[in-house]
Amino acid sequence: MATTFDARPAAPPLLDRLSAPKAVLILVALMWVPLTLYVMAGRNLGVLQPYILLPAIPATLILYVLAVRAWRESWTAVIGATLVFFWLLMAVSAPYLPLLDPNKPIAPFVLPFSHGKVGDTFFWLGTDFKGRDMLSRTVWGCQRVIVWGVTATVVAYVVGTLFGLIAGYLSGWWDELITFFGNVLLSFPVMVLFIVVLNYLGPSGFNIVIAVTFASAPAIMRIVRGLTLDIKSRDYVFAAQTRGERPFYIMIFELLPNVRGPIIVDACLRLGYTTVAITTLTFLGLGLQPPDPDWGLMIKEAAKTAMLFRFSYMLIIPALSVSTLILGFNLMADGLREISLRD
């Protein structure tokens, strides 16, 4: 993602300056922090709520331009990024788009591209069984999937990487203990783990984060542990040890940057898995709760009420939405792997 910053006397073009790691980090924060606050804190934001997402919109657009520019060699990555950023843009701009209220019942079972029997509101994607606008529910629905999916993946990565570094670098008893608990968790089928954890803690976004961490962190731990074992005998690690650095410093500043590459690709794939998991869990009734719009919930509700060909749009629209988002993550991962193999 980060192209090199070369310090020529003439100031580099704007896009180059924005591609520097620091600038990208700031842009990501500008996009991500408001979105997370908006979804997690929601109504507690008070007066800020209507405005908080405004800076995120330009940040998302600039990030998209930068991503396309950095990955232009790989078509797969560009297509993937386009899909992902489309939904990101929908997520950050949902409050400002001219949409109907996603939770307000208007007229039930109106087919797509029609006016329905009452009033003159035109429904692009029709309405659901309670008469709520499908277009608006689809656009609003991506907010929660994206925020919870990414948060869960990030937390799982932090935990998994930390344990992986400890197991790989310290070895000995630490390694035995961590690996055994990793194996215990890995030998559960993922769904069993999800169902048990969520059933115990109760269904909510924060608990999904915990469940995903339990399910994903052991696998991440294994990858990081393997990579750490591979690089811990390098000279720069010995140099740091000779300098008398603490193990924690070595893990974070010497080992972590060097295991970064394979982890980023794996993270893109895992984002896809997590999105699938959240949608599936919500469909099973263990995930996010009504009434706020969410793709999994839309499927769950429609699967009970709309099992007729005429009304199958209620099922197909959320199914296609979630598929495009996951396809985006997977194509991005594929493209990034292609790029990293080329260098």
């Binding site: 055994f180 194996n183 215990v184 030998s187 559960f188 089928p189 993922v190 769904m191 069993v192 169902i195 048990v196 059933n199 115990y200 896809g272 999105t275 699938v276 949608t279 599936t280 469909f283 099973l284 009734g285 999994g296 499927i299 699967a303 099992m307 007729l308 060909f309 199958s312 099922l315 197909i316 199914a319 296609l320 979630v322 598929s323 996951i326 396809l327 993550f329 997977n330 194509l331 594929d334």
Partner: protein, 316 residues
């Protein structure tokens, strides 16, 4: 080899003990007992119970016995083959589980019967000429089908084949006895989701073999390309997919949950979800037991198979 298998089995026993202990610990909390009560008696029924009545109910269900005693008893029972009784269905867990596992077994058999040839052929055709148009098309299809979550595949198939064309039934509850037509959509859903992953792994393995020296020699000495692929490349290229296919068994156990719930097919996954939602601890314990055993056994089979197929690998 024998030592390796033995060590794995010991590890499996340890994992089962730790996992079942944790499950008992979770299900022993007051909140969970209350949940079981609400699931059985209804929310109103529980709120109208006096504290003494509630305690009596717990006694009747055997839930008031201290946790370690219940756990010890359960361990002993399992060792003698008794898996306890289901609170929800008030039958013995053993036969219930066996029945559901049989249904999931039928499902899994057909999934594997279709998925293995399909994914191997796709993977070999794609990996044969890396970077060609054929490779790109097949790889894209593989990524594409894997990207559609099972729930979405299930929906699209149902809408097209059941609701639209009316060729197949939309639900697979098998109320009127076994009916193969009800099996088609769940099997297809699982195959479509899973085949892409195995195909991509096969492709990677095939592509790697194709770059090796002995293949180049075979091509250069003028053997027909088909001959090179079938006689030389396939032998080595199919070793890695073997392990992956065996490990899919483990994936299938979690994959079936959503498919069985959506199609209302009475299998292992649906049983597990219902039991967990009800707080039916003995059923959840039995399901977990089966799941862990299958997971570890499939790992052992894949490891042992790998060493047999590839004599260069030796376990230390």
């Amino acid at each position: 080899m024998a030592i390796l298998i033995l060590r794995r089995l010991v590890q499996m026993a340890l994992i089962i003990v730790v996992a079942s202990f944790l499950l008992f610990l979770i299900f022993d909390t007051d909140a969970f007992k209350k949940k079981t009560a609400i699931a059985e008696l209804g929310g109103f029924g529980v709120s109208s119970l006096s504290e003494a009545d509630y305690q009596k109910w717990l006694d009747e269900k055997g839930l008031n016995v201290p946790f370690y005693q219940r756990y010890g008893k359960w361990l002993g029972d399992v060792a003698t083959g008794d898996l306890g009784r289901s609170y929800e269905k008030s039958t013995a867990v053993g036969p219930l589980l066996l029945d559901r596992l049989k249904n999931t077994g039928i499902l899994a058999f057909w999934v594997f019967a279709l998925m293995i040839p399909l994914s191997l052929v796709t993977g070999v055709l794609a990996g044969m000429r890396e970077g060609s148009a054929q490779d790109r098309t097949l790889s894209f299809i593989a990524v594409f089908t894997t990207s559609i979550p099972e729930i979405a595949t299930a929906i699209l198939l149902t809408v097209i084949f059941a609701l639209g064309l009316g060729w197949l039934p939309a639900k697979s509850a098998m109320i009127g006895g076994f009916n193969w037509r009800q099996l088609v959509l769940p099997v297809l859903t699982l195959v479509i989701y899973d085949f892409g992953y195995v195909a991509r792994m096969t492709r990677a393995s095939m592509a790697e073999v194709m770059t090796s020296q002995y293949i180049r020699t075979a091509v250069l000495k003028g053997l027909p390309f088909r001959h090179v692929i079938v006689k030389h490349a396939l032998r080595n290229a199919l070793i890695a997919p073997f392990t992956i296919i065996v490990l899919q068994l483990n994936w299938l156990l979690s994959g079936v949950v959503v498919v069985e719930v959506f199609f209302e097919y009475d299998g292992f996954g649906k049983l597990l979800l219902e039991a967990a939602l009800f707080g039916d601890i003995y059923v959840v314990q039995a399901c977990t037991l089966v799941a862990v055993v299958i997971a570890v056994l499939s790992q052992i089979i894949s490891d042992v198979g790998y060493t047999i197929l590839n004599p260069r690998i030796r376990f230390a």
